[in-house]
């Protein structure tokens, strides 16, 4: 079964599909995200708001979060805190998705609440009744930093939203969103997001947002007792300064964003503040007069679109990155881990086990007059040849069954010409072989069953020999030293290999001499497999270590599937001593019509549809990955290879068992504390019945490969990504993609196609109903973010510019 090459196909499909799908959505760049190892797994239903409370900076001010009522008045109190010396506040435990009203006022007890006045360079006590407000919808922490500056401008926005509610609307997310958008347009910058920055204890503005607040202080200086009656009763300078500020905030809220006179005053005050403060930075406050009516803006839809974009941006480094810990490298790592995990049971190891099993079975039948020489073919040109000997030095061939003492087998993987035929001498070949020398230690034979104990020495060698007309490799024993040892545990020849294992078996003796194994255990060291390297082949490490118990469960009623249980461990020891191991747990078995002893390859060939492999495994790799779970391989299909192709039943069985229609893994792959993948991955191959083997699976018009993933993937420093029914189908270079990803509080489904020419059409849908249709054949490179039929934003894939309907943009 060519699992490895199929695994590469799976990896390629996933990488191409996912990267192609999301690379067009902007973001990008390598991984690089740090992982502190304590990333929480579950999304929270509450979040925090933070920012600065400032007219000038409000120090030790009481900041309270409420659920507002329908008219925008404070309702249920949610949280409260005091601002610090920089006016900064942070409120936690606020409900995600809820509209909250934040009110800042005088702290009724404890530290005195003061307000920095930029115009007078004073910190003045905040008068009773002074309030700043702001309102917003709390986003999940994974999609927003939830920054909210509470200023006279946010207070103006709340006042406008309250006015709209009083006029018959409701103080809801839409109204507040419209009012906040109105204020952004009025101010010309994002008054809710851009934090004011001051020096000199909060008295000297250093950025545009701070200058805008200084303009309010400058405007306050123009207050008179007529415009601000509260001044009549005040004598102290600081109290009068505070009262002027209070009056100004109130008047700004009353005037709102549609009052031309107030806008002009504010602009003039800003110009004055620039001069007074010797301000040289950017000036942003524009005081652009807005209409009295709130301009409807699909605030919630825009916020949802921003969430989708934020999700794509935050996860793009992981999804499309090519270095660091990214999805691509993760999949490559998973592939490498799977390869490493099954490395002990790669093809040559399995063939060696099969040959040992065959040699054991042959030995058990020795007394029944089996042929002196036995050759067994199996698929893909390999052969197993065995010979009985009368001695434990493997010198004298035993032609008489009763004299058979030992058996030597050679598993030939392939041969190459060493010396061409010449002068009447046949051509000499050399064959890559596993040599197996089996010596019985004890045999307890009864009429009904036999218990055996064999010692088996194995080695990996190049062996000289001849090839007969039937293609059978025959060892050239007559010409002296004709072998080259690749691995024998330090032994000089195959005969004295120090790779020794013990076999204990139990045979059921039948009258017709078709004895069969009812149990078989193999414990000890075995020769390693081989691997191709530039210029030839080499031993794949030092040795393999087996601790396996194989238990055939024979059901011969013709109605029930038989099985062969395989339990135990198998390890491969690399040249540097690193060990990769696989442990097959109880429940691992091969199921099928294995109605031993009547089992034949023809029988199996006719019933391969019912053949299934179920491995419950636990494996570790030299890199430290641990794989736990089960592998299911099933739906073997007789391919369209013509019966007259010359393939033997054994070869056809070999071909078919390389082409299961269904390969599934369910379990987890972890490394340290990190879960690389947890869930199920299933690869189905459709069209095998029509597959003639002339092309690779990927290139065959008959074949459709489909990868289906339902798994959780731990993303560095991000919420886990849960892949739900994510399927990627491949047919003649065309990809079809469907499925959903849930991560944190966002859920995104995807469906689309990619042509062999690379034209990608992908539709993303978020749980908020925002769609993003990507069409790489669109020459504009601009993809629209929509809610229903309404456009709420766009992504320019070429410039990286993301624009939203409210005039905000990101790049």
């Amino acid at each position: 079964m060519n699992v490895l090459s199929k695994g590469r196909s799976v990896r390629t499909m996933v990488a191409v599909a996912v990267i192609a799908a999301l690379s067009a959505c902007g973001g990008g760049g390598g991984g690089g995200a740090d992982n502190d190892g304590d990333t929480p797994v579950n999304a929270q239903s509450t979040s925090s708001l933070s920012g600065v409370a400032a007219k000038g900076l409000l120090k030790n001010a009481l900041v309270t979060a409420y659920l507002p009522d329908a008219k925008g008045l404070p309702g249920q109190k949610l949280a409260e805190t005091l601002s610090d010396e920089q006016g900064a506040y942070s409120l936690s435990g606020l409900p995600v998705g809820q509209l909250v009203l934040i009110v800042v006022g005088k702290n009724p007890s404890g530290a005195v609440t003061t307000m920095a006045d930029e115009a007078t360079n004073q910190d003045v006590p905040v008068p009773a009744g002074f309030e700043l407000k702001a309102a917003t919808v709390v986003d999940a922490p994974s999609v927003s930093s939830n920054t909210l500056q509470i200023t006279p401008f946010s207070t103006m926005a709340v006042a406008k939203a309250q006015a709209a509610a009083q006029a018959g609307g409701a103080f809801d997310a839409a109204t507040v969103g419209n009012a906040n958008a109105d204020m952004r347009r009025y101010a010309g910058y994002d008054v809710f997001d851009e934090a004011p920055a001051f020096t000199n204890g909060g008295h000297t503005p250093t950025n545009a947002a701070a200058l805008a607040l200084a303009a309010v202080s400058t405007l306050a200086k123009s207050q008179t007792e007529e415009s601000c009656p509260a001044l009549k009763d005040l004598l102290a300078d600081d109290a009068r300064t505070a009262a002027r500020a209070q009056c100004t905030v109130s008047q700004l809220s009353t005037a709102g964003s549609s009052d031309t006179a107030m806008a002009d005053k504010l602009k003039a005050a800003q110009a004055q503040a620039v001069s007074d403060e010797k301000y040289t930075g950017a000036v942003q406050l524009s005081a652009a007069v807005q209409s009295e009516e709130l301009k409807p803006v699909p605030v919630a839809d825009i916020a949802a679109a921003k969430s989708l974009v934020s999700y794509l941006r935050s996860d793009a480094p992981f999804v499309v990155g090519t270095s660091g810990d990214t999805l691509r490298t993760r999949l490559e790592q998973v592939q490498a881990d799977v390869q490493a995990a099954i490395n002990p049971l790669d093809s040559s190891n399995v063939q060696l086990l099969n040959a040992i099993y065959y040699a054991s079975e042959l030995m058990s039948r020795a007394e029944h007059g089996a042929s002196t020489h036995n050759v067994q073919f199996e698929g893909q040109g390999r052969q197993v040849g065995c010979t009985f000997y009368t001695d434990d030095q493997f010198e004298t061939v035993a032609n008489v069954p009763s004299e058979r003492m030992t058996v030597a087998c050679r598993l030939v993987y392939g041969y190459e010409l060493k010396t061409p035929a010449a002068m009447g001498k046949p051509a000499v070949y050399r064959a890559l072989q596993h040599a197996i020398f089996l010596l019985p230690q004890s045999v307890v034979d009864t009429a009904t069953d036999t218990d055996v104990d064999y010692v088996v020495r194995t080695s990996l060698v190049w062996q000289d020999g001849f090839v007969d007309a039937q293609g059978i490799f025959d060892t050239d024993w007559e010409n002296g030293d004709t072998h080259t040892v690749l691995a024998a545990g330090g032994g000089d020849s195959p005969f004295d290999s120090r790779l020794v294992a013990h076999i204990k078996g139990h045979f059921v003796n039948l009258p017709n001499r078709n004895d069969y194994l009812s149990s078989f255990s193999l414990t000890g060291d075995l020769a390693p497999g081989y691997e191709s390297v530039p210029g030839g082949v080499q031993a794949k490490g030092i040795k393999s270590v087996a601790d396996l118990v194989i238990t055939p469960v024979n059901v011969s009623d013709g109605k029930t599937l038989s099985s062969v249980g395989v339990v135990g461990g198998f390890s491969a020891v690399a040249g540097d001593g690193a060990v990769s191991s696989i442990k097959l747990l109880p429940g691992s078995e091969v199921r099928g019509w294995l109605t031993l002893p009547d089992f034949t390859e023809d029988t199996l060939l006719a019933r391969t549809q019912d053949l299934a492999l179920h491995l419950v495994l636990q494996a570790s790799t030299p890199a430290g990955s641990v794989i736990q779970g089960s592998v299911d391989v099933s739906q073997f299909t007789d391919t369209a290879m013509p019966s007259g192709s010359g393939l033997t039943p054994s070869q056809r069985v070999g071909n078919q068992t390389s082409l299961p229609a269904l390969i599934g893994f369910s379990g987890s792959i972890t490394r340290g504390t990190q879960s690389l993948l947890s869930g199920s991955v299933q690869l189905t191959t459709e069209g095998l019945a029509s597959y003639d083997g002339a092309q690779s699976l990927e290139d065959s018009p008959a074949i459709t490969l489909t990868l289906l993933v339902n798994a959780r993937v731990q993303v560095p420093s991000r919420p886990d990504a849960v892949l739900k029914n994510l399927s990627v189908s491949h047919h003649l270079g065309a990809l079809t993609i469907a499925g959903a990803v849930e991560q944190g509080s966002i859920w995104v489904s995807a469906s689309g196609t990619q042509t062999p020419a690379g034209v990608l059409k992908l539709a993303l849908l978020s749980d908020s109903g925002i769609t993003l249709d990507v069409d790489s054949s669109d020459n504009s490179g601009v993809y629209l973010l929509k809610k229903g039929d309404k456009e709420v934003g766009s992504i320019d894939s070429r410039s990286g510019l993301v624009s939203f309907l409210d005039g905000s943009y990101q790049r």
Binding site: S145, V283, A288, S314, F804, G807, S808
Partner: protein
């Protein structure tokens, strides 16, 4: 706008250049004139360009800055101004005297840049693809404004005889292009080839229509007042004072732009411990009214007429940059002029003949120059 250089006074064509050996600044100003017995109608045309900076390669701002950049601790300033004007001169009779005046079409363009020394240093490293020698913080304050306008220019000499003469000029402009860019913030060099930055950018410009925004207003308007005085203190000494654009207004209602914050800190950790990746640039498209004034130019000139020529001292200030010229001009039909500006190490040559005048000044002849000016003019003379 005066592109009239050292033309002999008392020309019959109308407005007369009074022999003020100006230095050829491409500035919006007046042609000092005197009323006399002029009559008739005559043409005039002037065109000129001037670039000046105190450290930035003003002629190659998009170049690599390897040459022509001089580091300054204080503010770096630079400007490029250009103007072309053509029209007619005449001197109507009114209230018993003549009123020399000019009416012409004018095209003006200005680009003015100001940056903190540190901001200019950052630009230098960016343009030259180099890194600072030491880690450090850089103040990112810059302001660049440019505009292009066309319209009518009208000049009048209400006081055009006697030792003290006066002239005023008025321009009505239609603005066809405006750009106003301001940045503030800080950049940090981390000594490992990497930079951090947190900069706010305000960028208003005409012709800009971002998605989801209304089309910009197609044009703006502008006006400018300039004044000039000429005093013949003695037969040998002539003094002049010119205040170009002493009052001005450039307005463009409904100018689209954007406010943006660019930050290298794109990874922020939420309260839940997750990392959010923010965009490098977050902005808000805006629609504002543009209202600025044209930086005024103050120009003082003293001429000493002696022997074979005229000695000249000229002081000029525009956009915070000063010039101080010392020069000499010959007499005769072909009047050569030469002058030097010792602080900028610039030199000037000029030639006047009949109604024609030409000036060229620079501190060096390649693109690394900090001073470059040329002007050509013709004033009809009877």
């Amino acid at each position: 706008m005066s592109w009239c250089h050292g033309v002999k006074a008392s020309l019959a064509c109308g407005l007369v250049c009074l022999g003020v050996a100006t230095t050829g600044h491409a500035q919006s100003g007046l042609t000092l004139s005197e009323a006399g017995s002029q009559a008739g109608l005559g043409p005039y045309a002037h065109a000129g360009f001037q670039a000046w900076s105190n450290g930035m390669p003003v002629l190659a701002m998009d170049g690599d800055w390897q040459r022509g950049y001089q580091r300054r601790a204080g503010t770096q300033r630079a400007y490029q101004v250009a103007q072309a004007e053509a029209g007619v001169l005449w001197a109507p009779e009114f209230a018993g005297r003549t009123w020399p005046m000019a009416l012409g079409a004018v095209v003006r363009a200005q680009a003015l840049a100001m940056a903190s020394g540190e901001a200019a240093q950052v630009v230098y490293h960016y343009q030259s693809q180099t890194d600072p020698a030491q880690p450090g913080h850089y103040d990112g304050r810059t302001h660049v404004m440019s505009w292009v306008g066309r319209g009518l220019a009208w000049r009048l000499s209400p006081l055009s005889s006697g030792p003290l003469q006066m002239e005023l000029g008025w321009q009505w402009l239609t603005l066809t292009r405006v750009r106003d860019v301001a940045t503030a913030g800080q950049a940090t060099y981390n000594a490992d080839g990497s930079y951090d930055f947190d900069v706010s950018v305000r960028h208003d410009r005409s012709g800009f229509q971002p998605r989801y925004s209304r089309p910009p207003e197609p044009q703006g308007e502008g006006a400018s007042l300039s004044l000039a005085w000429l005093w013949r203190a003695t037969p040998q000494l002539t003094m002049s004072l010119k205040l170009d654009d002493i009052w001005s207004r450039l307005r463009w209602q409904g100018l689209n732009g954007d406010d943006a914050v660019a930050s290298s800190n794109v990874a922020t950790r939420t309260t839940d411990g997750y990392l959010d990746y923010q965009p490098v640039v977050q902005g808000q498209y805006t629609r504002r009214g543009f209202s600025h004034s044209i930086p005024a130019t103050v120009d003082v000139t003293a001429l000493w007429h002696a022997g074979p020529g005229t000695a000249m001292v000229n002081l000029n200030r525009r956009w915070g940059l000063q010039q101080a010229w010392l020069g000499w001009r010959s007499l005769g039909t072909w009047r050569w002029q030469a002058a030097v500006e010792p602080w900028a190490q610039a030199w000037q040559v000029g030639l006047d003949a009949g109604g024609f005048s030409a000036r060229f000044q620079t501190d060096r002849l390649d693109q690394a120059a900090h001073v470059r000016s040329w002007s050509l003019g013709y004033t009809w003379q009877r």
